[in-house]
C-alpha cells in the first residue's frame, strides 16, 4: 500500500484557516497523524485512505478489501472469511477457478484496546465438499497499517490447516484507515440522505428540525432555529452536506447533538468522540448495501455456512447490540425446523424487506414518521386488502407459489389452485382434513401449537424480554389490555407464533375449553417481523391492532389468545364466538390481507 504519495495530512492537524468546511473546525479528537495514500477500487473509483503512524493511532474505521487469491492450480468455487474480534464476515462465492477474485470490502472498527489480529480463511465449496477450509492466514492489522509499503495491496501466504507450515495458496488484500474527515462527511451524507425528503441534496428548516428531533436531544431541539442559522453558513435557508458535516463536527466538540445512536440506541460516550463517530458511521452503513461483505458471524466456520450468519444476527452477538442494526440486512431469517431438526433459511419477499427497511431500519425513520407511519401502514394494508380481493389478484397466486415453492405444499391444500378466485382466498386456504395431526388428541392437558409458524416460547415474560421482545414498553398488561388482563397472567408463560406470508394462515385453538370473551384492541399495523420485535423502539405487540380472547380451561386455567394484525395482513377474523366450547386443534380464525 502507500502508492507513492504518502505524505503528512495537513487537514487533520490544521485547526483553523483551511478552505474547506471541515478544515475550519477544531478537531482535537482527530488530530492524530496519518499518511495519506490513494486506493484504487475495483470499480474504478478512487478514494482517500490513510495509514497509521503508530499504535496510538489505532482507532477509527479500517477498510479491508479481500481482493483475490491464487489457490495454486486448484480449481474450485471459493469464498473467503475475515474474522476480527467477535465478528466474522464473508465474501460471495467466486466462479469455478484457481484464481478467485472477490474485491469484497468491509469496514472494521479499530479500537485502541480492541482486537488487532485478523484471521483470513479461504474455503472451497462445491457439490461434494461444502465449505471446506483450505487455507488460512493471520494478519496483525496494526503491523499492516503501520508498515511502509509501495504497493496498493499486500500478498499473504495461505497455510494448510491440516499441515503445519504447508502453503496452499496466496491471498491479496488491502487495508487502510478511513480519513476521519471523510468519515464525518460520509456520516453527514448518510443522514442527509435519510432526512432529505425532497431529495434536493439540502435540508430545509423543516427537514433540519426533524433531524434534530430524531437525535432525541431536548436541549438541541429547543434551539433548533439557532442551530439551523449556525449551520446555514451561506445563508441560503438550507443546510448542505458540507454545512451539516461542519455543524455535527463542531457540536460534537462542544455540545453534542447526538446523545445516543439513532440506529441501535446505544448511549454514546461524550468523552470518546472519535469512537462515537465511528460507531454512528458503521451503524448507519449497515444494511445500506454500501458494504460488500456480509457478516455478523461468530466464527469463520459459521460464516462458511451461508445460512449460519443469520443465527448470530438474531442471537444478538453483534457488536452493536440487537435490533434494527442486526435485522436491517435480513432478507432471510434463520429458523429451526422442528420436523426435520435442521436449521433452515426463510425467504422474505423483497417488497416486504424494502418496506421494513424503510420504516424500521433506522430510529430516525421510525421516530420521524411517528403518527404518519401508522397512517401509511394502515393505508398500505387497506389498499393491499382491496387489491387482494379483486379477481385480477388471482393472477399473482402462481407467482407466489413459485416464489415459495419449497415452503408451500400444494398437496396439502384442500382445493386446487383454480378454485381460488382472489389472492386473499388463496391466502386463507384451508387444508385437507388430517393434514395437521393433533398431538395427544385425547388429552386436554397437552397443549398444541396454534399455527403453522415460527415459534418462540418463554417460561416468563422476563425471559421473553431478555431473549426476544426488545420493545421498551412491552408488558403483558399492555398486550392484553385492561379488559382481559388479570394478575394471574403477570409473569406468565409466553408463546409467540409468527406467521410468514407463505404459511397456512388459519389459526387453531391450542387448548380445549370455553371461550369467555373477545376484545378488540385498535392499533397500528407495524410489521411483526423480528426486525421490529427486536427493536428497542418498536412496541409492535402492544401497539398493533389485535383481538384478545380468553379461553377458560380445566387444566391450564385461563389462557389468553391474542391475534395480532401486521402490515398488509391486518384483517383478523374469528370463526368462534364467546360462549363456544373449543376442542384443541379446532379452527379458531384466520388472518387475511387488509387493514
Amino acid at each position: 500500500m502507500g502508492h507513492g504519495s504518502s505524505k503528512e495530512l495537513p487537514e487533520t492537524t490544521n485547526t483553523e484557516g483551511g478552505s474547506t468546511a471541515s478544515s475550519r473546525i477544531k478537531r482535537p479528537h482527530i488530530s492524530r497523524v496519518f499518511r495519506r495514500l490513494t486506493v484504487s477500487r475495483g470499480n474504478g473509483s478512487s478514494s482517500s485512505a490513510l495509514k497509521l503512524v503508530s499504535a496510538e493511532d489505532f482507532a477509527g474505521i479500517a477498510l479491508l478489501t479481500l481482493i483475490s487469491a491464487d489457490m495454486q492450480q486448484f480449481k474450485d468455487k471459493w469464498l473467503a472469511c475475515v474474522s476480527f474480534g467477535e465478528q466474522t464476515f464473508r465474501t460471495h462465492i467466486s466462479d469455478q477457478t484457481e484464481k478467485p477474485v472477490w474485491n469484497s470490502e468491509k469496514k472494521l472498527l479499530l479500537e485502541k484496546n480492541g482486537p488487532r489480529l485478523a484471521r483470513i480463511s479461504v474455503f472451497e465449496t462445491n457439490r461434494i465438499s461444502k465449505n471446506n477450509l483450505v487455507g488460512y492466514c493471520e494478519i496483525d492489522l496494526l503491523e499492516l497499517l503501520t508498515q511502509e509499503s509501495d504497493s496498493d495491496f499486500e500478498v499473504f501466504e495461505l497455510f494448510d490447516p491440516a499441515a503445519t507450515g504447508k502453503v496452499v495458496g496466496r491471498i491479496s488484500l488491502s487495508c487502510s484507515v478511513e480519513d476521519p474527515i471523510e468519515t464525518e462527511k460520509n456520516f453527514a451524507r448518510r443522514i442527509l440522505a435519510i432526512m432529505d425528503y425532497n431529495e434536493d441534496g439540502k435540508l430545509s428548516f423543516s427537514e433540519f428540525s426533524d433531524l434534530i428531533k430524531a437525535f432525541g436531544n431536548q436541549v438541541a431541539e429547543n434551539k433548533k432555529e439557532e442551530l439551523f442559522k449556525a449551520a446555514d453558513k451561506n445563508g441560503d435557508d438550507a443546510v448542505s452536506m458540507d454545512e451539516l458535516a461542519e455543524l455535527l463536527a463542531f457540536q460534537q466538540e462542544n455540545e453534542p447533538l447526538i446523545n445516543c445512536c439513532p440506529v441501535c440506541g446505544e448511549i454514546l460516550e461524550v468523552s470518546d468522540k472519535l469512537n462515537t463517530l465511528v460507531h454512528l458511521s458503521l451503524c448507519f452503513d449497515e444494511g445500506t448495501g454500501n458494504q460488500v461483505m456480509t457478516g455478523g458471524f461468530l466464527t469463520d466456520k459459521q460464516a462458511s455456512y451461508g445460512w449460519m450468519f443469520k443465527l448470530s444476527e438474531w442471537a444478538h452477538f453483534s457488536s452493536y447490540d440487537v435490533g434494527l442494526n442486526s435485522g436491517s440486512s435480513a432478507s432471510h431469517i434463520l429458523v429451526f425446523d422442528r420436523k426435520t431438526k435442521r436449521l433452515v433459511e426463510e425467504l422474505i419477499d423483497k417488497k416486504i424487506v424494502l418496506s421494513m427497511r424503510a420504516i424500521y431500519q433506522s430510529k430516525i425513520g421510525l421516530h420521524l414518521m411517528d403518527k404518519g407511519a401508522k397512517e401509511i401502514l394502515l393505508s398500505i394494508s387497506e389498499k393491499q386488502g382491496r387489491e387482494m380481493n379483486t379477481t385480477e389478484s388471482a393472477g399473482d397466486i402462481p407467482k407466489f407459489v413459485e416464489f415459495f415453492k419449497d415452503q408451500i405444499n400444494l398437496a396439502e391444500v384442500k382445493y386446487p389452485l383454480e378454485h381460488f378466485k382472489t389472492f386473499n382466498e388463496f391466502f386463507i386456504r384451508e387444508l385437507k382434513p388430517g393434514t395437521r395431526p393433533i398431538a395427544s388428541m385425547e388429552r386436554d392437558d397437552v397443549a398444541i401449537c396454534a399455527a403453522d409458524s415460527r415459534l418462540m416460547a418463554f417460561k416468563s415474560v422476563e425471559d421473553g424480554q431478555r431473549f426476544w421482545i426488545k420493545g421498551r414498553k412491552f408488558s403483558v398488561q399492555g398486550l392484553l389490555g385492561k379488559e382481559t388482563y388479570s394478575s394471574a397472567f403477570a409473569d406468565g408463560t409466553l408463546v409467540i407464533f409468527r406467521l410468514a406470508p407463505q404459511d397456512y394462515h388459519r389459526f387453531h385453538s391450542p387448548v380445549s375449553g370455553t371461550i369467555e370473551k373477545f376484545v378488540k384492541i385498535p392499533g397500528c399495523l407495524y410489521t411483526v417481523n423480528p426486525i421490529a420485535v427486536n427493536s428497542k423502539y418498536c412496541n409492535v405487540f402492544t401497539e398493533n391492532k389485535r383481538e384478545v380472547s380468553i379461553i377458560s380451561t380445566a387444566h391450564f386455567g385461563k389462557v389468553a389468545f391474542v391475534a395480532i394484525g401486521a402490515t398488509m395482513v391486518g384483517s383478523i377474523t374469528f370463526s368462534k364466538k364467546a360462549g363456544d366450547h373449543v376442542k384443541k386443534g379446532d379452527e379458531y380464525g384466520y388472518f387475511s390481507f387488509g387493514g
Binding site: D337, I448, A566
Partner: protein, 48 residues
C-alpha cells in the same frame, strides 16, 4: 401476523426443545397440532 398465547404463571410446562431454541433467540418452525407443552396442575398429573 402473529398469535400470542399467554398462560398463567406456572400453568404449563413448555417442551424443552422449544424453550432451548428460544433461549438462543432462535425461532422454531412448527405446524398446527404439534405438541406445545403439558399442564402442570395437579389434575393434569393425575391424568398422566
Amino acid at each position: 401476523s402473529t398469535v400470542i398465547c399467554v398462560f398463567e404463571k406456572d400453568a404449563i410446562e413448555i417442551d424443552e426443545d422449544l424453550l432451548a431454541n428460544s433461549a438462543r433467540s432462535l425461532e422454531t418452525l412448527v405446524s398446527v397440532g404439534m405438541k406445545l407443552g403439558v399442564a402442570t396442575n395437579k389434575q393434569a398429573k393425575v391424568n398422566l
